[in-house]
Amino acid sequence: MRPKKPISVCRSSHWRFLSIALTLIYALLTACKSEQPQQQVIKFWTIGAEGDAVIKLLPEFERQHPGVHVDVQQIPLTAALEKLLTGVAGNATPDISQLGNTWLPELVMLQALEPLDARIAASNQVKRDDYFSGIWDTNVIDAQIYGVPWYVDTRLLFYRRDLLAQAGINTPPQNWQEWRSSLIAIKALVGPQRYSILLPLNEFEPLLALAIQQDEPLLRDGDRYGNFRSAGFKRALSFYVEMFQNTWAPTMTNTQIANVWNEFGRGFYSYYISGPWNIGEFQRRLPPEQQKTWMTAPLPGPNGPGAGLAGGSSLVIFQNSKHKELAWQLIEFLSDPAIQLRFHTDTGDLPPRRSTWTDPGLNSDVYAHAFRDQLERLKPTPKVPEWESIAQQIRLVAERAVHGDLTIDQAAELLDQHTDEILEKRRWILDRGAKP
C-alpha cells in the first residue's frame, strides 16, 4: 500500500465533489446515449386541418414501429409556403411534410426534396397505377417523382337542389350553355338581393378551373411565356366576368361573407365552386332539415363535362432528413387504403387511389360521386416554380376586369405581360442551358 499523501481536508472535499459531479454528468450522458437508438423522432409538418386528423392515425403507426415518435407540427395554410421556403433557406426542414402539389416545383427546384422513384418501384403499398393519373402527374417533374399523393382536391359545383328546381332546373348543367341559362333562371327567381353563384374575388381557383378546361395551355414555349392571350383563356375569362356583370355573382371576397355555409343555406347564392372539404362543412353546419337541399355536380365544361384542377396535397421527404427510411414507412402507412379511408372520414379529403374508392361507404356517398367522376379528368397546372406568383396575378387582373377597369383583351394582354416578366429569370436560366 502506498502511503497516503497528506492533503488538506478542504482540497479533498473539492475533489470528491468534482468526481461525483463528473460521474453524474457521465451517467447522464450515457443514459441519453443509450436512450437515443430506441426513441427516434420523425418531424412531420402538416398544413391546416389535416394535422388534427393525422394525429389520430399516428398512434397506430407508432405501435407498429416501437421506439418511433412522430412529432407533428401544424402550420396554418396561409403561412405554409413561406414557412417551407424559409425552412429550406435556413436548413431547418422536417423529415416528412404535407405539401400542396402546386408548390412542389418550387421545392424541387431548390433541391429540397428526395426523389422517390426507387422507393416506389420497390414498394408493395404505393402503386402508381392505382392513383388517378392527373393527380399522380402533379408529382412528376422531369420524369422524376418527388411526392406521393395524399389527398385530391378538385373544385366543382355545390348547388342548391331546391332553388334550382324552383327555377325550373332539374338536372345540374352539363356544359356552359346550360349553366348560363340556369344562372339566368336562378337570378330571375331570387331577385336583386341574392345571387346565382358565389365566386370569391380573393380566390383564383374558380377562374383557373374554367381556364384549365380549355385546349390551350396556360403557358407556352416550354413554359417560357404566358399564353393568356389564347382564345381559350379569353373565353374562360369572358364567362367569368360575365357572371359578375350580369350580377349572377356578387363582387365579394370570402372575408366579406361572414359565413359561406350559412349564406349558402340562406340561399344567398345557389352555386358555389369549391372543393371536397366543404362536403363535411355543409353536413356539419347546415341544419338536418336542409341536408336534402344541396348536392354536388361535376364542373360543366364548354361542351360537356369539363376537366378539373388537380389540387391537393402530397407527402414528401426532405433531402436533409436523417430518417428517410422511417419517413418512407410513414408515407406507406398513410397511403394504405384502410388508413386513407379513416383519414377521409375524419377530414372529408378525397383519397387519390382508386382502390380506396371501392369501399362501399365512400362509394355510396352521394356527395362524393361527382368528385369521383371528375377525378378521372384532372389536369395539373404548369409546373414552374413561379406558378403561385402567376396564379396571384391571374386573380388580381381578373378582379380588375370584374370591376370594369379592364376589358377582356386588356386583361389578357396585361396578364401575359406580368407573366413574361415573372418568367424572365426562368428564360435566362433555360437559355444558358442550365436546368432551372
Binding site: L81, E82, L85, T86, V88, A89, E106, M109, L110, Q111, L201, N202, T251, M252, T253, T255, Q256, A258, P385, E388, S389, L396, E399, R400, H403, D405, K425, R426, W428, I429, A434, P436
Partner: protein, 292 residues
C-alpha cells in the same frame, strides 16, 4: 490618452454588437438590393446576377409600387394627424380636474394598444360587416344605406385608418399625459388671474409647452405609420383591388411570398429613404418652430 482608451474599452462591446447586428445586415440588404437574389439563386448561387440599380429602376416604373406608396402616404397623411388629435384630446380630458375614475379610463383607453392586432381585427371585421355589422346597423337607423366598408376600394383604407387610430392612440395619450403633467400649475393660475379663457390657456400655455412632446409623438407615430402592415394583412389581405397594399405589405409579398429578395431589399431602402426625408423635415420644422 489613458482615459480615452478606457472609454473606448467600455464602448467597444456595445459598438461591436451594434455593428454586427445593425450595420452588417443593413449593408448586406443593400448588397442584396443590387442583385436579383431569388429562389433560383437560393438553389444555386450561380443563378445570381448583379443587376446594379435595375431593381430600383424597375420599382420606380412599377405602377403597383407607386400604388402601394400612395396608399401608405394616404394612411400616414390621414392617420398621423387623426391619431395625434385623438390622443391629445383623450390626454386633455384625462388630465382635466373634472375627470372622474381616471385610472379606469386610462386603462380602458390604453387597452387597445396592448391587445393583439389579430384579435381586434377579427372583432372589427364583424363590426364593419356589410349586412350584419353594428356600424351599418347604427347608420341605417339614421337612414344611411349600408356601406361595404372593407369590400369597397374607396372605403377600405378609411376603415383601416380608423382601426389603426383607435388601436394606437392610447400609446401617444400616455406620453401626452406625462407632458401635460410636467407643465407647472402656476402658469395656469397666473393666466386665470389675467383673465385668460380656457382656449387662451390652451393656445398660449399648453400648446407651446407640449411642443417638444408633440415633435416626439409625431415622429414616432409617423415612423410607425409608414410601416403599416399588420392591419391590412389581417383585415383585407391587401384587397379589394389591392387598395390597402402598403409599401411594407408590398415588400413582404415580394420578399417572403415570392422570394424576390433583391427586389424586396430595394423596396426597404426606398422606404427608408422616404422616412428619412420626412423625419428630417419634421425635425427642421420642429427646430424652426422652437426658434421663433
Amino acid at each position: 490618452m489613458k482615459v480615452e482608451r478606457a472609454a473606448w474599452c467600455f464602448v467597444a462591446p456595445a459598438l461591436l454588437v451594434i455593428g454586427l447586428f445593425f450595420f452588417v445586415p443593413v449593408i448586406a440588404a443593400f448588397g442584396a438590393s443590387l442583385t436579383d437574389f431569388d429562389l433560383y439563386a437560393l438553389a444555386d448561387i450561380r443563378n445570381l446576377r448583379f443587376v446594379g440599380f435595375a431593381n430600383y429602376q424597375r420599382l420606380l416604373q412599377l405602377p403597383e409600387f407607386w400604388d402601394a406608396l400612395g396608399h401608405t402616404l394616404y394612411f400616414v397623411a390621414a392617420g398621423v394627424p387623426l391619431s395625434i388629435f385623438a390622443s391629445l384630446t383623450a390626454a386633455l380630458l384625462l388630465n382635466s380636474k373634472l375627470a372622474r375614475c381616471k385610472p379606469f379610463f386610462r386603462t380602458a383607453l390604453f387597452a387597445p394598444v396592448v391587445t393583439t392586432v389579430v384579435a381586434m381585427a377579427v372583432i372589427w371585421n364583424y363590426l364593419f360587416h356589410t349586412r350584419y355589422g353594428w356600424v351599418n346597423y347604427a347608420l341605417s337607423s339614421i337612414g344611411v344605406h349600408p356601406i361595404d366598408w372593407l369590400g369597397d376600394p374607396h372605403w377600405a383604407m378609411p376603415t383601416i385608418i380608423l382601426f389603426a387610430v383607435w388601436k394606437n392612440f392610447g400609446y401617444n395619450m400616455i406620453i401626452f399625459i406625462a407632458g401635460l403633467q410636467s407643465i407647472p400649475e402656476d402658469l395656469y393660475e397666473a393666466a386665470r388671474i389675467d383673465g385668460a379663457s380656457y382656449w387662451q390657456q390652451f393656445r398660449f400655455i399648453t400648446w407651446p409647452s407640449l411642443a417638444p412632446t408633440l415633435l416626439l409623438v409625431s415622429m414616432l407615430t409617423m415612423a410607425g405609420y409608414f410601416q403599416l402592415f399588420a392591419e391590412p394583412y389581417v383585415m383585407t389581405q391587401g384587397g379589394p383591388l389591392q387598395s390597402t397594399v402598403s409599401v411594407l405589405y408590398f415588400m413582404y409579398d415580394e420578399g417572403f411570398k415570392w422570394w424576390r429578395v433583391g427586389s424586396a431589399s430595394a423596396v426597404a431602402f426606398l422606404l427608408f429613404v422616404l422616412m428619412f426625408i420626412v423625419a428630417t423635415l419634421q425635425l427642421w420644422l420642429g427646430r424652426r418652430g422652437g426658434n421663433t
